[in-house]
Symmetry: C2
Subunit: 322 residues, 2 copies
Amino acid sequence: MALEREFFIGIDFGGTYVKYALFSGDDRAILFKDKAPSKADQPQDVIFAGLYDIIDELLEKAQQQGGTVVAIGMGSPGAIDFDQGKLIGSTPNIPSFTNADIRGKLSSRYDLPVWVDNDANLMALAESREGAAKGATNVIALTLGTGIGGGIIIDSEVYRGSFFAGAEIGHMSINLEGPPCNCGGKGCIERYASATAMVHNYRTKLRGHALKVPEEINTILIFDEAENGQQEAIDTIDETCRYLGAALANLVNIFNPEYIVLGGGVSEAGQPFMDQISKEMHRVAMPASAKDVKIVHAQLGNDAGIIGAMRLAFDHYEKMQK
Amino acid sequence: MALEREFFIGIDFGGTYVKYALFSGDDRAILFKDKAPSKADQPQDVIFAGLYDIIDELLEKAQQQGGTVVAIGMGSPGAIDFDQGKLIGSTPNIPSFTNADIRGKLSSRYDLPVWVDNDANLMALAESREGAAKGATNVIALTLGTGIGGGIIIDSEVYRGSFFAGAEIGHMSINLEGPPCNCGGKGCIERYASATAMVHNYRTKLRGHALKVPEEINTILIFDEAENGQQEAIDTIDETCRYLGAALANLVNIFNPEYIVLGGGVSEAGQPFMDQISKEMHRVAMPASAKDVKIVHAQLGNDAGIIGAMRLAFDHYEKMQK
């Protein structure tokens, strides 16, 4: 009897969209991918109904391609009890998802093994397995977006903390006298180097110089204006690099990793921005700790979430077979 | 043939003393311990000659007790290439020890397996195996002394970084605008919460208020004066707790460990000091990350170094037997 091809499902559940894909187990290539609204403001059963539709669709695709799905991996915002595959408490933008028993619901409905992890952890896993830090043992990954998400790979595995509430790198304070953060701390790196913080700083500088403030500011605009030589934009970027460099120096002194991977909108600003961050990191990090560390762009972009979710399922399914 | 009892040697090599002990492999109890000057200002061959004398003495003790030494563990200041058992570069107070090939010299002379690690790593290992954090999986240990040393236990093993230059927790900056540190950074926690920093801050406060400055200030004096109600001493301690609490909050947000173990002179100040640090940590850490973390006194005191060195050898010797 010929063995059926083994497929894996990777789901990246976010505040706006659910991205999802079917992967071949042979080469972990994407066979099919799509996205759908995540209905984050709806009751939990509506959200799960949407997830069931997605999985039904992927199971059908698998059948069409002559294979069978053997495991499901899923990423979600929030703290995830990895052992149980459940959300711990609530996550800000998906109010009804509090304590959602993701593994419980999906595995009982589909009779398949299901692994669930925090989305930033899975971005780090994806980049360390198949992206910018491929093959590395110790990796720190940061996603610079509305906030700053963090993922830590230690000894080639996701580090989650003893109670699944670690890797909150965005809330590392680099200035105890700094502005308050909504996490309860002060001077968190998220307050200096997220896209939100950059836009805020830029707007403040324009106002301070009585300059016209554009209606819509995003980081692309700031980088463009800096390229045009506008001092306020250049200063905003300089500050971001200085603070982010200091935060990375802390991480380098602590973890001495092979790679720090930067993803998310802000990090797509190009190599000069990366070089400037790296320079600032080296300026304050301990030379021995920093010397062999590479700061690199994330490579997997928007697919990092689905690839990480697939890799989570793939790795654990492999272990289960042994 | 009756098997001979297996003994282990633990050596804690420091800038002033070498502490050393013979351990029983059965119950890992100390059978004999002593210390000798480390001769840190002497040439490397004199330092090694001193170590040979120590090991010869311990081998003789072992024989007297009807056992045989099966492995040697040793801790040293500085960055250690754990795979090779060598110092990486130099360590400040022991100039001739640069690149010292500790394992090479000891194992070839004694034909015994030798493991070498950084002393702060071994303090963390000791406390996580047999001390304040016994049985815990993820532990951060800080030694608050002249400087601040750090050790990280992840998944029950010492975390060293990809290039053996991690766990430099004393050089985590918590204030990018803070005072320069001799590591090249600014506002490192060592500048706020080491014994050196406390003494400096206290002296500055006394001078600022035109008070008499005692000739010799140490942390014991500061804690005593605080107990007597002296405002400058109280303020010094409050500041130390605020900064140290913020540093621990960063570690808690990143590692979400079971324990943070505080050792060294400053941490021996008693439970109220620990409680104050813990309160400051909780004030700024993320509630989910901090809620189950315990901040505790180190338990092994001056023996942490030899116990950690022994445990390093013991654990690796056990693995070797499998």
